[in-house]
Symmetry: C2
Subunit: 235 residues, 2 copies
DNA sequence: CGCTTTATTGAGAGATATCAATACTTGTGG
DNA sequence: CCACAAGTATTGATATCTCTCAATAAAGCG
């Protein structure tokens, strides 16, 4: 289903994925571990909250969201995932996924059998170290998200989201001031803890003030400095 | 500074701490690793955001908060920590603490040299597994906190906080419907993403409706069922 | 091309924030 | 041990932001 060149050692993701900092021979062992890639169609669930965790997933192409689901129906989008990011780690503790992961566009994930990853990481200290770092970074980002939700107003929240995506696209070699957001207004609003109407008004104001132009999900950042100023409470 | 019986294998924390599920000999090695206990006075910083991470800390007695600090001064309390909980993990990725940890009352922490923990965990797979679980659980709890901040109203938020503390006290063998909260209104309000005045009004309403009685930080839960009903959006 | 979904805009309601005054605690020093 | 000061908590009045409800517009999909 994918191009023949499937192995991790030659993956374009490079530093963003698991084998970072490993020797060639260790990298080969990762290749053996991660030998399945799964394509997802837009809207597909990668995993569901409450189901048994058997795999972690590394996103190769595309974009996903993860959401925390409650019976009362008021779901909370807790993150957006771009290529190179590891999904499923919140389920390690109980061996049960604690969130839903849903494809925002057609995507491909590398399938990582968790118990084998755990075993292999005992043999490859750098792999273990990397897993620790990945989880620690997720905790840090969740704390930033809590700060966004807890203390920022609607404009500051959206400015932060834009800057966050701008930087993540840049880190992945995207050259320009232009971002194609992978998610709907509804997903963004949920992530920001506001209603879609409020988000829509914030967007309109940003366009008015010539911070951005936006057409559907296609955003151009006109004045990054001003945008950062709006978001500065988050610094 | 502490009673002579300082070793992990005989610690009252038992299942709440690192050596859970280890053999006697492995437990002894943990004892060697964690041989320093540090007392903290109320208000003391255990570590500061931006400083180099050398240790993780396991809380033995007392209570701490961790807060995400921003230059604009609008700090966000991101968690409250009770005995048995591991602190500092958000700093593992960059080897720099990403939050402040502050004692809410006089406390004692066990000092865990991180690099030695990492080394030892290569030799004791169960220790590594436990560390993975601890970090995964923290991610899960952060997601719950995001959900609280993003979708609940003030009453739901405070009801959740009360139930959360009630359960955590229960898990630690506290027998009754009575909780002595370790933190101020200000800390609670920050954690809940509301103002202290709003929190104070919520508290008054809960007392009026006979869900709780409260005197300063001493809370008695009168009607747990009703309280859970108030919080039910969070389920 | 029409239908369904998604996004924008407006008007009004409601929850929370802000400002201000008061009461209560806690800690300190005489 | 008391008195005072500083910090903490409560309550009220008002302002403001965001939500809710409603209508319209635009985009995506079959």
């Amino acid at each position: 289903m994918l191009a023949p060149n499937n192995n991790c050692s030659q993956c374009v993701l490079g530093q963003f994925c698991l084998p970072v900092g490993l020797s060639a021979s260790d990298s080969d062992r990762i290749d053996e571990l991660i030998n399945v890639r799964t394509p997802l169609k837009k809207g597909d669930y990668l995993y569901r909250q409450g189901t048994e965790l058997e795999f972690l997933y590394n996103l190769r192409y595309g974009a996903l969201k993860s959401e925390f689901s409650v019976v009362s129906g008021n779901n909370q989008v807790i993150g957006f995932h771009l290529p190179g990011e590891l999904l499923g780690v919140d389920g390690i503790a109980e061996h049960i996924y604690q969130s839903n992961a849903i494809a925002l566009e057609d995507s491909v994930v590398c399938v990582v059998p968790f118990s084998e990853l755990e075993t292999l990481s005992h043999e490859i200290p750098n792999l273990q170290r990397h897993l620790n770092r990945v989880m620690s970074r997720e905790i840090y980002q969740d704390h930033r998200h809590s700060h966004l939700l807890g203390t920022l107003n609607a404009e500051e929240k959206f400015a932060c989201l834009l800057i966050n995506f701008f930087e993540r696209f840049q880190q992945r070699g995207h050259p320009s001031q232009t971002i194609d957001l992978p998610m709907s207004r509804e997903d963004m609003a949920s992530y920001l803890g506001i209603q879609i109407e409020t988000l829509s008004r914030v967007i309109s104001r940003f366009v008015e003030r010539q911070l951005i132009t936006i057409k559907q999900r296609h955003v151009e950042i006109i004045d990054l400095a001003k945008l950062k100023k709006v978001a500065e409470n988050s610094v």
